[in-house]
């Protein structure tokens, strides 16, 4: 066992993704939901980079796309937090379960 197999990285990514998903679906605090989404994106990045090394066509493309994903994630975090601020000013709360406007 000289190398960690591809499935090892994929499994790690899967675990992290599921943790992020579960957090995003259950946490009440909107900040934590956002950060859980960042965790999910990071898990995806692990997949991209792992396939860049162990995939069918190894190369730097996977790493470059991981960079793009990070950029988008950063932008998403910024915008998400801005939206959170705007919402907080309106509702005086960051609890996701109190934001049920979709129901009305």
């Amino acid at each position: 066992m000289n190398n960690v197999p591809l499935s090892g990285y994929l499994l790690l990514a899967l675990v992290l993704f599921c943790i992020g998903l579960f957090g995003a679906l259950t946490k009440r605090n909107a900040v934590i939901v956002l950060i859980s989404i960042e965790l999910m994106l990071n898990a995806v990045n692990i997949n991209l980079v792992a396939f860049a090394k162990y995939g069918e066509n190894p190369g730097l493309t996977g790493q470059i796309f991981a960079l793009f994903t990070m950029t988008v994630a950063a932008a998403e975090a910024a915008v998400g937090l801005a939206i959170l601020m705007a919402l907080y000013r309106k509702r005086k709360s960051v609890h996701v379960d109190e934001m049920n406007h979709l129901k009305q």
Binding site: M1, N3, V4, L6, S7, Y9, L10, L12, L14, V15, L16, C18, I19, L21, F22, G23, L25, T26, R28, N29, V31, I32, I35, S36, L39, N42, N45, I46, V49, A50, A52, K53, Y54, G55, P58, G59, L60, Q63, I64, A66, L67, F68, M70, T71, V72, A73, A74, A75, E76, A77, A78, V79, L81, A82, A86, Y88, R89, K90, V94, H95
Partner: protein, 170 residues
């Protein structure tokens, strides 16, 4: 059992522990700090995958920028941390069921998956080659990403700015 494998296991355990703490802790600031460990561990994982530049960016953006943004977000909003009750709700069960099923399915799908021999030269001049590719092959996505970042920047400022007129309206 090479050093690479040991490093992978240690980093993986740290990353997963950080995720578990995120789910388990009740203080929001603690959660974010727990996640910093995860992000750093993932950066280490990137190094084992011969992606040094990506690892560096990971540390800069996630462990640095995103975490700081989130901490600012937490500080700027009010928190009554006691509200996180430990009782299990039906929605939690549903989410756990769905996520668990998804996990199992994916687990069986990726278990023992090995496509081809690993590439061996990815770490050679890693940053330089990425830079060259970004300015040749991926020039247009790169420029588009910069436009996206600009748009996100402006959008975030506009959204977060305290709008006095809107404030009076309701």
């Amino acid at each position: 059992m090479t050093g690479e494998v040991i490093a992978f296991f240690v980093l993986a355990i740290v990353a997963i522990m950080g995720g578990m703490l995120l789910l388990h802790l009740s203080n929001v600031v603690h959660m974010v700090v727990a996640l910093v460990f995860t992000f750093l561990a993932i950066a280490g994982i990137f190094i084992t995958l011969s992606a040094e530049f990506v690892a560096a960016v990971q540390v800069l953006i996630y462990s640095g920028a995103v975490t700081i943004i989130m901490l600012f977000g937490i500080m700027l909003t009010r928190h009554d941390d006691v509200s996180e009750k430990k009782q299990i709700k039906s929605s939690t069960l549903l989410a756990a069921g769905g996520v668990g099923a998804f996990f199992l399915l994916m687990f069986f799908a990726i278990n023992g998956m090995s496509v081809s021999e690993p590439a061996t030269n990815l770490h050679v001049d890693n940053t330089k080659r990425i830079g060259e590719l970004l300015y040749t092959n991926y020039l247009i996505p790169f420029e588009l990403i910069s436009v996206l970042l600009l748009a996100a920047l402006i959008g975030a400022i506009i959204l977060a700015k305290r709008d006095d007129k809107q404030e009076e309206k309701p």
